[in-house]
Symmetry: D2
Subunit: 338 residues, 4 copies
């Protein structure tokens, strides 16, 4: 199997008659649009398609359903994933993956498309490398933290959900002269926080990528107050090294006792909802590209979009490298929120 490990050796594309697809990791708006695109494209190219329920655990538990064109009717506008998702510790062990592979073989499945984030790609990559089965990944996560694509599916919907929520919160902030700390998702990366912060005109943004300095933040707030700006929004990325919004709000309150502060953790509303136009389009393009890629012999790769072109990146790069936030944006964000 070593030759498989060392290269993206294509399978013989004409051997592919039946493919499977699954969704794994945290759900993201647009997953259903990707499922639809994969199923419809596969049928168009005369492939059979099998949906795997509950992510990798469906592979292990033989939880397969045949997908027809109408199985994916009307799902493009829906959040979540009709195939469901779950954690699967068993798949992290070689013997779990072997069982998955054997189930796939028994079901006549020739290739697999995995919709998920970095953890899912890690599993998908192992499956490919250990058993040589053609695998393609599609980046689905609201966090936008996958290398090899300008945007992940779900990110655009999430940032729009965040700014609508922050627009709501600003109504109260201004009406009551309150300093709000709003915690947003994003795991170890600040994409959601930075984009939504610029777009909602937040007064400050705390990101995992930037050392948070509470004193400086307090100093800035005092300066704002002198300019009669008496309310404010601080966006806190959940991965910030100084703690979550609640902890940071407390530290600020200790230094600025005259401020009235509030904390809101947006939570899981960020993962759901009808996907945005961009997420639906991106999911449609990548879903189609993944199927076509398999038929062209591609494997061990993630289908992404870079500079508006479809680009395939080795899964291993996708989950080991990281997209970086543009630090100029932080500077610009400060300039225009003053």
């Amino acid at each position: 199997m070593s030759e498989i490990k060392n290269s993206n050796t294509p399978a013989n594309p004409q051997d592919i008659k039946k493919i499977a697809l699954l969704t794994s990791g945290g759900d993201a708006p647009g997953m259903n649009a990707a499922i639809r695109a994969i199923v419809r494209s596969a049928i168009y190219y005369n492939l059979k398609v099998v949906g795997v329920k509950n992510g990798f655990s469906g592979l292990i538990n033989n939880d397969f359903i045949e997908m027809k064109s109408h199985s994916v009717s009307k799902i493009i506008s829906r959040g979540g994933t009709i195939l469901k998702s779950s954690r699967c510790p068993e798949f992290k062990m070689q013997q779990g993956r072997e069982r998955a592979f054997n189930n796939m073989k028994a079901a006549g499945i020739d290739a697999l498309i995995v919709n998920g984030g970095d953890g899912s790609f890690r599993g998908a990559d192992l499956l490919y490398k250990e058993f040589g089965i053609p695998v393609i990944g599609i980046p689905c996560t609201i966090d936008n933290d996958i290398y090899g694509t300008d945007f992940t599916i779900g990110f655009d919907s999430a940032i729009n959900t965040v700014i609508r929520a922050v627009d709501n919160i600003r109504d109260t902030a201004e009406s009551h002269n309150i300093l709000f700390f709003v915690e947003v998702m994003g795991r170890h990366s600040g994409f959601i926080a930075l984009n939504s912060s610029i777009a909602s005109g937040a007064e400050a943004t705390l990101l995992p990528e930037i050392q948070t300095d509470i004193d400086q933040l307090c100093h800035f707030m005092e300066m704002e107050r002198r300019k009669n700006k008496t309310s404010g929004i601080v966006i806190v990325a959940e991965g910030d090294e100084e703690g979550g919004a609640a902890e940071i709000a407390q530290k600020v309150k200790q230094r600025l006792p005259n401020y009235e502060t509030r904390v809101t953790t947006l939570g899981h509303i960020q993962r759901g909802g009808s996907p945005s136009c961009n997420d639906r389009v991106l999911a449609s393009l990548l879903g189609h590209a993944a199927v076509k890629g398999l038929l062209e012999g591609k494997t061990g790769l993630m289908a992404g979009q870079v500079n508006r072109e479809i680009v395939f990146t080795p899964l291993e790069e996708a989950y080991t490298k990281r997209d970086k936030i543009d630090k100029n944006w932080i500077e610009i964000s400060k300039i225009i929120s003053m």
Copy 2:
């Protein structure tokens, strides 16, 4: 002053030439629509109108601005309150209210309209009873906990915000087979929780008005699971006597360790946002009614809507009595969420 205390003696309506208005307490979507209706109606009836900033503290601090027709242009669709709101401990003391009254007299203000909730009406009522100045209240709170009106301004917007959020959360709940505990606002009353629970098809609802039985809740969840209903939403009113969503989730988790649970506290997104059609209409009608009421000699009253008619209720009743939730709804909610 005793005769004033004991009756709703009307002022001489033709003496009213200039009125003031303020917003007080927690902000609610529709407050701006009420401000607009009051200002425009007052101008239509040839009154001068003064906006008081920051609730009752604006009365104490002489924070007055003249309102023109164009001062309220384009605000009907906006959340929050352009007059701002704040707590005012000073107004709870008789000497604070005296100062407020003197400021109003000095500014030539003949009557006051107070937009707020029960705390605000308490203050407004004291001002009226102690100093005889004509005062009318308009019920503005998302909590819907005011006696004398079928709905308070802001409630309809809040429940729509809640169900959109719960619709989002349901995407994740279903995709991951998670039991979500969603905490909603409402202080001591369960209106927001009950309405949004029915409308979002929540599997269970915990209300301050009903004794919460964690064992029964767990039993119900187990029954659901046997029917293969593997995800769920439990709406928890913030005033529930068993604690907030986090505490209750923890208690459930102890009894049902196999369940995957999550907690989301919707927080201040519920207070903001562009008001719903009903809230804008209600605010428009009550704002107009309050001005007209003052000109008809009404005082010490709250303008509400009962059975689609404008009804005036003594402020004291409005803040001492309570609207009750309809317990049949709880039963129906259970029947149709099964």
Copy 3:
């Protein structure tokens, strides 16, 4: 059959073991919530439930499907109707209804719940009167033009859709100093127009219930212009006797050639979309009430909500009488949009 015609003779409720339900007429947001409530309530009360596809034509064509609890999972938040709707000219003839009745008997259906508007109730009433089969109607139409209920299911969603659209249009109206004529639905009644007009702060409203005077409208617009109000929104009910928005805009343009005018007909976006909280709650309550009503021997009636109570009204009254708009609202609308 004459005794049936002359009274609301109850069927023997204990004979009812299986009920059918259908949706008919124009679709309305909340129909799915009503379907869900009916199905779940029926199952709760140990009835079998049959869904009829495509309205009355499904009765004629034997287009029946058994409904289970899970058949209505997740539909509460969706617009449209999973049972579909259609026109059925055949049902307008006695022989069509006879065929429908025979099909129902053959399928063992003991009673019928009809979700629709006045035309649907007319058909339902004939079925009941001619064949004595227990029938209950639930008012579903965005037009709010049904007697016997304060609000019809779908109305609240529609007016919210309208005001969001008008809020959008106002952005352009103000940016370009344009006078917009926005045509909204409502057939012969002005409920949608009047409610959305107040809520969007429209400068004028043209309703079927009020004689439209184009000269007066133009005079009013000129007065507004003198006050430097250079843009505006005129809401035109589709049933206005002076014609649709396009025709009226043309007439205004002839008299006021210096005005820049635009016309937007909102069209079918008003019928769709995720239902509002109120519509979901109302549909849940009425769906449950209809089932319970059948079991209590009610028939030939519509389940409505009046002053927050469930009220049953003879179907014949529901489709012959008319709810009236409150003409005070028109006056208030003018006062506060100045």
Copy 4:
């Protein structure tokens, strides 16, 4: 002046002390975010800023207002443009532009930023070429038809508005088995139509860039019907050479008389509304870049974003060249809507 005409000769950047900005052409969501970014950035770089009302006609009529940091508070989330926009035939004549230039000089304005589309850039370019005044353009139009930027400001908001509307319409289409023709904006280009069509799963898309074949469309519809797909959405770009949605629907109806068809023209709702996150971010980045560009001596250029980098393109290229739709997308759209 010939040397100015032939090159993008930079002005001496240190001479720039006061800049003006205007919005021109059709309004687009995000224009206010651009205004905010320009004003705040200019103040940050120690420039004075003048807002010009009503587009180029404000230059001719001396309609200037000084902009402060607080002048642009809270506008980032609002559609339309606080500076308003208008057509200006006078500016198309050299003598109109001369008057504009003289007014600018008299007001001490050293440079101009123009937010608009191709017509606006044409005017801006002439002003720069004739009078040598530094000018930078920012692409604001929902149509996305400007060369030199991946996306124009407003496009992302518009396509999201379109898909929400089409999602609504789909509810009715499916409930009634109707074939809907939905006309969307975009002038001569099909970006809005194509993106929203993919994202809403439309059954067919008619674009100005592709020869529309009514017979083929009817053939396709018949094929769909054979697969029991009985409802459908056809997105029609307003610039389609076969006519608008109404005309095309009529032609289809003649060939397929058994189809029930409906037409909806989305109209001006597409131009308004709170901008999407992407539009707010793009407007913020380009607004900042335009100011910085002026200070670096750039002129006669448009600030755009290409492959996530700020790129300056000669205005003349921006309004003469055209971005092309990606024809692969049309193919993919067909594959996945089957």
